[in-house]
Symmetry: C2
Subunit: 222 residues, 2 copies
Amino acid sequence: MNTFTEENYIKCIYMLAAGTPEGITTSAIAGAMKTKSATVTDMLKKLSDKSLVKYEKYYGVKMTDKGKKIALQIIRKHRLWEVFLVEALNFKWDEVHVIAEQLEHIQSEELIERLDKFLEHPKMDPHGDPIPDNNGKIYTAHLTLLSQLKHKEAGVISGVSEHSPSFLQYLEKSGMSLGNTIQVMEKHEFDQSINIRINRKKNLHISNDIAKNILIKTEDAK
Amino acid sequence: MNTFTEENYIKCIYMLAAGTPEGITTSAIAGAMKTKSATVTDMLKKLSDKSLVKYEKYYGVKMTDKGKKIALQIIRKHRLWEVFLVEALNFKWDEVHVIAEQLEHIQSEELIERLDKFLEHPKMDPHGDPIPDNNGKIYTAHLTLLSQLKHKEAGVISGVSEHSPSFLQYLEKSGMSLGNTIQVMEKHEFDQSINIRINRKKNLHISNDIAKNILIKTEDAK
DNA sequence: TATAATTTTTAGACTAATCTAAATTATTTT
DNA sequence: AAAATAATTTAGATTAGTCTAAAAATTATA
């Protein structure tokens, strides 16, 4: 088992490595972890001993497959807890990160699988970031307008293209806010209005004028 | 703020002190914490420095009011998480302790208050132990038969007085098990049968023959 | 009430995670 | 390509939590 601290380094290195095939530098990690390079060097040796990273002195680290798998598991936990905090406990999307940073270290496979089921297997966290599945598989996200979602499709509110007070007040009043999961329950051809479900709880009927100003992140099966 | 380890000692000492006005011995704590007396001595000094306990060399410790308050806060968190695990995630009452031992250390007042609300302010955990309120106040538990509960009264299934396979199978099939919260929704005078709600979710109608064999822990307002 | 047995504390050591300062290696500049 | 600069690692120290073994204090016993 890895310590709390090791897990944080693993996640951090994974995040920094996302995109680049380059080795991650000691100072980049030190910057991200708000610690000193000397501390990072020690940790890299330890993670290297556990074969979670491939470390070459003075040339930075890359993650091993084993390390990536663990990182994805932690990210999965973090994002599932974020969904829980927003959907079940009604936190706002920007309030959940700090708490999820703690919850992501709770050790229990069973707990996470049950939480996933309880949340009805969400594909995305409240920030619109994809939730890796139990095998570490990630689906890529895609941005569209709520008005373009098909019947039964779901996604996360990720922005608005209209900023007038009356529009924002309407959203507020209807209980829609950033990070909420939206599923299309019915589409009415006549006036293009749609019935949606918010956070798998509340149903709502909205006009096309509203729907076409709400940005939704959906996942594309990859 | 107290560390994870400090919190575990505080809770442990509080538990051991429950009942006795005596000082708690070093070896009792060492036994409960599965650690050595020398380690406990060091920790007692630290907790004493923080005025969470009153420590007198060779004579054991007592908790201060400040220490008690913290202990109760941890116990509150532990028990609320247990309710969550059983009611929302459908764990069995005897599977939740280990996970709750981790969750009880998550730091966030707001989280706990929202969790409490989400669970509809339960008064008791799945083991039938009372959940301290936000001020550390505890209501004492009392054991009765489900058949004797009044309209709207609630409690936790804590045992059965009948052990025949057919009875136990009936409970199993109806979705009732140890640790489940039961609320009486309706009482039918004619045949003494009652409508109950299990874990604030599923409704069920049961006969008096069943109800009089189920032991329920309720809390007495104190 | 001395002595024996038990409990508790102290002393010294270890590991994990951190730091600062010095030494080493790599990179950039002229 | 040599010197200057920047990044990285090593060395040595610190704190929290733990241990074992020895010393000290308390409690039980004969």
